[in-house]
């Protein structure tokens, strides 16, 4: 579980996060949504330890991140898997080498043990014939799946995804969403996804946090988001006619 306690973050005069508190449960897919500039990425980078909050704490399983020593922070980071928006695969390495990289770096496994583990995770993300290809030789959807494979290869306790289905066609986006959701439940991981994608919100948002201007405006599940009267949330989530109709149908069905 990750608990976030009143975090603030500024860059110069720009006050990006203005006291966000929440918690992310184990085995659940947690989504952070909000307009561009609402502080989502800064919030995610604070969770990852890439930015230090000016005030407030991030607590991983009862341990305050900022109170940990450098070595303890690095050890904790080895329990974190991250899927970046652009996949962030290492260009100079093949798919197999990318996925093997954390194992090579942090474990004392033999080459064959590492190979077996890589085969398992690549099969789990439905990538079988791409082992020797370079990131530039595979599609965006495949790159995302490699990034997911790399993120889960060390059996992480926490999985963070920054807009995992941006730039993907709708079918592949759903595939990636479902894959992350399944992995979260299968391995009992605490997953936090930063997204703009409303399909993800509807499909896999077991817990959703809506950020607006650096504040947590709303939180709830994908069921609750249909019922909410919060204008900021409805304006954002139901900005398209399609989603407005979906919501209307849902509410009519309930009544």
């Amino acid at each position: 579980m990750i608990k976030v306690d009143d975090i603030h973050k500024s860059f110069g005069d720009a006050h990006i996060l203005k006291g966000v508190s929440t918690q992310f449960e184990k085995g659940k897919t947690n989504l952070i949504i909000g307009q561009s500039g609402s502080g989502k990425t800064v919030f995610l980078k604070c969770l990852l330890g890439l930015f230090s909050p000016d005030k407030g704490n991030i607590i991983y399983n009862g341990k305050i991140y900022s109170n940990l020593s450098g070595d303890q922070q690095r050890n904790l980071r080895q329990e974190i898997g991250m899927v970046f928006q652009g996949s962030a695969l290492f260009d100079s390495m093949t798919v197999e080498e990318n996925v093997m990289f954390p194992l090579d770096m942090f474990t004392k496994q033999s080459k064959s043990e590492m190979q077996d583990r890589v085969d398992i995770v690549l099969r789990r993300v439905n990538l079988i014939d791409a082992h020797q290809k370079y990131p530039s030789e595979i599609s965006g959807g495949m790159q995302k799946r490699v990034a997911i494979a790399r993120a889960i290869v060390m059996n992480p306790k926490y999985l963070f995804c920054d807009e995992p289905n941006s730039g993907l066609d709708p079918k592949t986006a759903i595939l990636i969403d479902n894959l992350i959701h399944e992995i979260t439940q299968e391995f009992d991981i605490t997953t936090v996804i930063n997204t703009h994608d409303m399909n993800s919100v509807m499909e896999i948002g077991e817990k959703i946090i809506f950020l607006k201007n650096g504040y947590k405006e709303w939180e709830g599940s994908n069921k609750e988001i249909f019922k909410t009267d919060n204008k900021a949330v409805t304006d954002f989530v139901y900005s398209s006619d399609l989603f407005k109709k979906v919501r209307q149908m849902y509410l009519e069905e309930r009544n």
């Binding site: 990852l48 890439l50 980071r77 962030a88 290492f90 260009d91 963070f160």
Partner: protein, 245 residues
């Protein structure tokens, strides 16, 4: 004020490079890869440039000897002195600042833009050690490149002097042996090691701390080349004053 902050950040970066080392088997592979990219990959251009620079120095010297009392072995002597003291270490380093420095800045800068550096950090890896340390170690072989540049430069001078009809082979060889001071070679190698560290670290600094997109990677490469060259020239002056002055 910005310059002072950047200089401070540069030295903080250097300190970070030596913290929390990457596992040796991985580091060894990275070092060998960088030796291949930075040193072996530069030999062709260095040999080419050195050969012609040596030739030009010999021709220029020969054309400026108008007084018949000046011995013809001066061509060999001037070529040796010019190549060993300045052209091989300094001129070659400026070329390397362009070739290797741009490569370092753009490769690290691209990793920054595409979040590959963030990926390393999230994994708990000291990205500065992983990316910059192998380059520093690889560049420690740079004096060998300069030794080759010295040899080829003088050889180029000999070819141009003898086959251009400016000097006899015997005069030229007598010239390159004349009043030879071994410390001049040591001085040149001391400079070379300093330049190697500059070429490895200043472009890394510009790549690592850049922000923005593809356009900024290009700008960072240009800025990195300018600053690497400026620092090489200043350090060249300071070391020359200290070691020969």
């Amino acid at each position: 004020m910005n310059y002072i902050a950047s200089i401070g950040s540069y030295f903080i970066m250097i300190r970070e490079v030596f913290k929390k080392p990457t596992k040796w088997p991985i580091m060894r592979k990275l070092i060998l890869k960088e030796i291949d990219e930075l040193i072996y990959g530069s030999l062709g251009i260095i040999i080419f440039i050195s050969f012609f620079i040596g030739g030009v120095v010999a021709i220029q010297t020969a054309l400026n000897i108008t007084n018949p009392l000046i011995p013809r072995n001066l061509i060999g002597f001037a070529t040796r002195q010019s190549v060993i003291l300045e052209f091989a270490p300094t001129f070659t380093s400026i070329i390397m600042a362009g070739k290797v420095g741009s490569y370092i800045t753009s490769s690290i800068g691209t990793m920054r833009v595409t979040e590959q550096i963030d990926a390393l950090e999230v994994m708990g890896i000291n990205s500065l050690n992983y990316l910059v340390f192998p380059k520093i170690i690889a560049m420690l072989l740079y004096p060998f490149v300069i030794a080759i540049a010295m040899y080829v430069g003088i050889f180029g001078g000999w070819i141009a002097g003898v086959f251009g009809g400016f000097s006899s082979s015997a005069d030229f060889i007598e010239g390159i042996q004349l009043d030879f001071i071994p410390f001049h070679v040591a001085y040149s190698f001391i400079k070379t090691i300093a330049f190697a560290l500059i070429i490895a670290t200043i472009p890394s600094f510009h790549g690592f701390y850049m922000r923005g997109g593809a356009l900024e990677v290009g700008k960072a490469s240009t800025t990195s080349f300018v600053w690497t060259s400026v620092v090489i020239i200043i350090v060249n002056y300071v070391l020359t004053q200290l070691l020969l002055g």
